[in-house]
Amino acid sequence: MKKKIGFATVMLLVALSILSTRFYEVSLPVWHLLGGGNGPDPATLHLRGEFVESNLGAAQDREGFLTVRMIAQQYVFVPQCIIVPAGVPIRFRITSADAVHMLSFLGTDYGLKAVPGTVTEARFTFSKTGEFKIPCHEFCGAGHYAMRGQLDVVPQDQFSSLRPGERRTCGPG
């Protein structure tokens, strides 16, 4: 009996360790579980909540974090170009308005999944400065391959601090 249980435990550990390397393939149900149906309704993002269009982009929040809010939708990221300082932890809050999208920050190690009905949150620190492309890394429809945003990482002294209520993006508007 002991042998059997030991064998079962070992197999379980092996399975878990394999699954943990394929995290991105099993993470979707986890995000849905965490969202618990309490996330924003993808159809009414523009009407209420934190993802109204006047609240998107980089903002300074009460804890002193720089928070970037973005919407991924078929087939553009909004805002399409975001600007952040280097060497500072940046909080991303991302949701999707339709399908599942994935932001992969090319040239860095970071990626983020945008799931409809769920807010994905992460803290990233960008050490290199420069312009990084953000292609969509999860097939989302016919225009998927042309869906691309941009991340501008500037030195910290070139990023003037945000006034309360100010939302910053690069690019026009």
Binding site: M1, I5, A43, Y75, P79, Q150, E166
Partner: protein, 260 residues
């Protein structure tokens, strides 16, 4: 008897089960903390909320729009005929053609005219005289109008391309977009490859109307697109690209349901 037999082999697995449960509980702690974090933090001060359009594609809205009555729409359409043509094709290219219009798109524009989210001195007055239900009926009627050419009709569509050399640029943008700048292909939302809710049919649209709308999206005069979708795209287009795409669609060459 039975109880004793059942209990004896259960003991060891129960211990294992408890251990496993404890392991999973330990794993779950960071997940729960993550969840608590995200709900607790709020931005310190929020800018005034800007709402682009009161329309949201909820289940009820979709049901309302798709249940429009085309026969009632036919009667209501008598007041639209003067500008938009009796067959849904206008005689002047600055007015949009309505034949074969996408129902959701048509209905949303009427709602936005009524609520003042889209600015047009003429259409805001017209839309004020219609109810939500009337707009749905009109949308049903216009979506059913045929788009084929009619020799008896005085329509301005299709226009000829002023500069045929722009066709290459237009085809590239309509079929493939520009991935480097993040411009998706027109046909991935406006059809015929795939559609999104509220995207109008472009294949039968007039050149001047399209050009105006692209300009207005780019400079923010028109801002009733949900989640800044068209504004993000139009801002990136150069003047030449806007002209190219509008002229190409205006000449009836764009992919879609239009048949010559």
């Amino acid at each position: 008897m039975g109880q004793v037999n059942r209990k004896a082999p259960m003991r060891t697995p129960v211990r294992w089960l408890v251990t496993l449960a404890a392991m999973f509980a330990l794993l779950a702690i960071p997940l729960l903390r993550l969840r608590g974090d995200s709900s607790a933090q709020q931005p310190s001060e929020e800018p005034p909320v800007r709402i682009p359009s009161n329309v949201a594609w909820t289940r009820e809205t979709l049901a309302l729009v798709s249940s429009g009555d085309p026969f009632r729409g036919l009667l209501l359409a008598r007041r639209c005929n003067h500008c938009h043509g009796e067959e849904g094709f206008s005689a002047v290219p600055v007015f949009p053609n309505l034949a074969g219009a996408d129902r959701l798109s048509f209905w949303k524009q009427m709602e936005d005219f009524r609520s003042g989210k889209r600015i047009s001195p003429v259409m805001q007055v017209q839309a004020a005289g219609l109810s939500t239900r009337d707009s749905a009926d009109l949308a049903a009627y216009y979506s059913m109008l045929p788009t084929a050419r009619d020799p008896q009709d005085s329509r301005s569509f299709p226009q000829t391309m002023q500069d045929p050399s722009l066709a290459t640029i237009a085809i590239r943008l309509i079929l493939f977009g520009d991935g480097q700048r993040g411009i998706p292909p027109c046909q991935s939302c406006h059809g015929p490859v795939s559609y999104v809710n509220g995207a109008p049919l472009l294949a039968i649209q007039n050149e001047s109307y399209l050009q105006d709308q692209l300009e207005h999206f780019a400079n923010g005069y028109r801002s009733n697109d949900i989640n800044v979708r068209m504004r993000s795209i139009a801002r990136q287009l150069t003047a030449q690209e806007k002209t190219a795409v509008s002229e190409y669609y205006g000449a009836g060459l764009g992919p879609g349901v239009y048949s010559r």
